[in-house]
């Protein structure tokens, strides 16, 4: 009986560890998706790839959707892990972190409505991309 409960305990602990560790992996996967979207936008900004309105909309939609699920991936206690460069400031200043995410989503949403051609793309997208550096400066440790 004792043996069973011990092994149950072990399984439960392992399972809870796995759950506790997943937000880090999830948010990193999400950031990777954002990175892919950014790569497409930056490539067009620099003229390395041709302007493509559909690709722009797809990238901005990725930002929008990811912003919706982003904050939930930073639960209390997920500040520590082998491979996170999330800054402790996220948890000490959750309100500021949420506000930065909201601004990012609002800028992406506004850009989706504003961009109709290459000229409006080049005028609008740099403002959206400023969110990346601003948020990383405050809430990510350098790596």
């Amino acid at each position: 009986m004792l043996r069973i409960s011990l092994s149950t305990l072990a399984i439960v602990s392992v399972a809870s560890l796995a759950i506790a560790a997943s937000p880090i992996a999830d948010r990193q996967a999400l950031m990777k998706a954002n990175g892919g979207a950014t790569k497409a936008l930056v490539g067009m900004m620099k003229g390395e790839t041709a302007f493509n309105l559909d690709a722009v909309k797809k990238a901005l939609t990725t930002y929008q959707q990811n912003a919706d699920s982003f904050i939930a991936l930073f639960p209390e206690g997920s500040d520590k892990g082998e491979k996170t460069s999330a800054s402790p400031k996220i948890w000490s200043d959750m309100a500021g972190f949420k506000a930065a995410n909201d601004k990012f989503k609002a800028d992406a949403t506004a850009a989706l409505a504003a961009i109709t051609d290459e000229a409006s793309f080049k005028a609008t997208v740099p403002g959206v991309l400023k969110n990346c550096g601003a948020c990383h400066e405050a809430y990510r440790l350098k790596d």
Binding site: K46, E82, C132, L141, K142, D143
Partner: protein, 312 residues
């Protein structure tokens, strides 16, 4: 017994006298030589502005609420393992800033780390790298600073742990570790390389974060630019050498591009204090950013060594 006491007293007195003598600003000038303190040409305000940005002056000295980054009444405190540094007012205010300074005093501050009153500066002010610039370059920065708004306000005193709180001791550290030679031109290398050399090693002071430090907190030149644990907290300033753990796979254009818009080739946006560095380097010319990249690509490749405790 009396003899032993007098002997101990004599040794202590001698030691104190030697410490006092070695930590005077004159000792540094005498032992390290007073090189390159005389400007050789007329002031160039445009060069001063460029070097002001390349040197990241605003990153520490601009008021935190100042979007223009030209209100230099002092910025946010710099928290380090040695204690907390409060960046001073370097606006041209005659009382609180450097409005009352002479050009020679400014050049000495930048190149020797000595304040007008003779006290040594803590190397949180990166004169350890700035010393590589010429007197002309330093004088141009001074001339540019004088064109910015004069503002009131004095920074708080630095809050440092013992023994770092003994400011005079910094003078000994300077004698031991601070070279004061100007970065020399290498005629075998291209103009771009030489420009990059001056920007990266001198005014840009990249090594202050990206080169690891010895136990005495001096830069470990044998591992120049191989990456180092962040001084102001967790994190790691990456390896900039062309090693596989550094920038080997990056082209010069990609490095220059990061300095312009903050994006890595994978479209990741740099974080931590590098985001602020990019705010400075984004104002430089494409040619200057490419020059910095050219120099970095020419460095000997050195593998990164990340301490276990450092977040990857």
């Amino acid at each position: 017994m009396t003899r032993i006491v007098s002997l101990v007293c004599a040794v202590v007195l001698l030691g104190a006298t030697a410490f006092y003598a070695l930590t005077t600003p004159e000792a540094y000038t005498a032992l390290r030589g007073d090189h390159a303190h005389q400007p050789t040409r007329a002031r160039d305000l445009e060069n001063g502005q460029t070097l002001f940005h390349a040197g990241g002056c605003a990153s520490c000295h601009a008021a935190t609420d100042d979007e223009s980054r030209t209100h230099l009444s002092g910025g946010k405190p710099l928290v380090t393992p040695f204690g907390t540094f409060y960046p001073p007012n370097i606006s041209p205010d005659p009382d609180d800033g450097l409005g009352g300074w002479t050009e020679a005093q400014f050049i000495r501050a930048m190149r020797e780390g000595t304040a007008p009153d003779g006290r040594p500066y803590y190397p949180a002010f990166p004169y350890t790298s700035y010393r590589g610039m010429t007197a002309d370059d330093a004088a141009d920065i001074f001339a540019y600073l004088k064109t910015l708004p004069a503002l009131k306000g004095r920074a708080a005193e630095h809050q440092l742990a013992f023994p770092f709180s003994l400011r005079r001791g910094v003078a000994l550290w300077k004698l031991a570790f601070l070279s004061n030679t100007v970065i020399a031109k290498d005629p075998k290398q291209s103009e771009a390389w030489n420009r990059g050399h001056r920007l990266v090693e001198g005014v840009g002071h990249c090594g202050e974060c990206h080169t690891p430090r010895t136990i005495a907190a001096s830069l470990d030149r044998s591992r120049a630019f191989a990456g180092a644990p962040a001084l102001e907290g967790k994190g790691f300033a990456p390896n900039l050498t062309p090693h596989e753990t550094g920038l080997q796979s990056w082209s010069s254009d990609e490095i220059a591009s990061l300095l312009k818009d903050g994006f890595t080739p994978d479209a990741d946006s740099v974080g931590g204090s590098m985001a602020d560095v990019v705010r400075n380097t984004s104002t430089l010319t494409d040619a200057d950013r490419l020059a910095m990249a050219t120099y970095l690509k020419s460095l000997p490749p050195i593998p990164s060594v990340k301490p276990k405790s450092v977040t990857p």
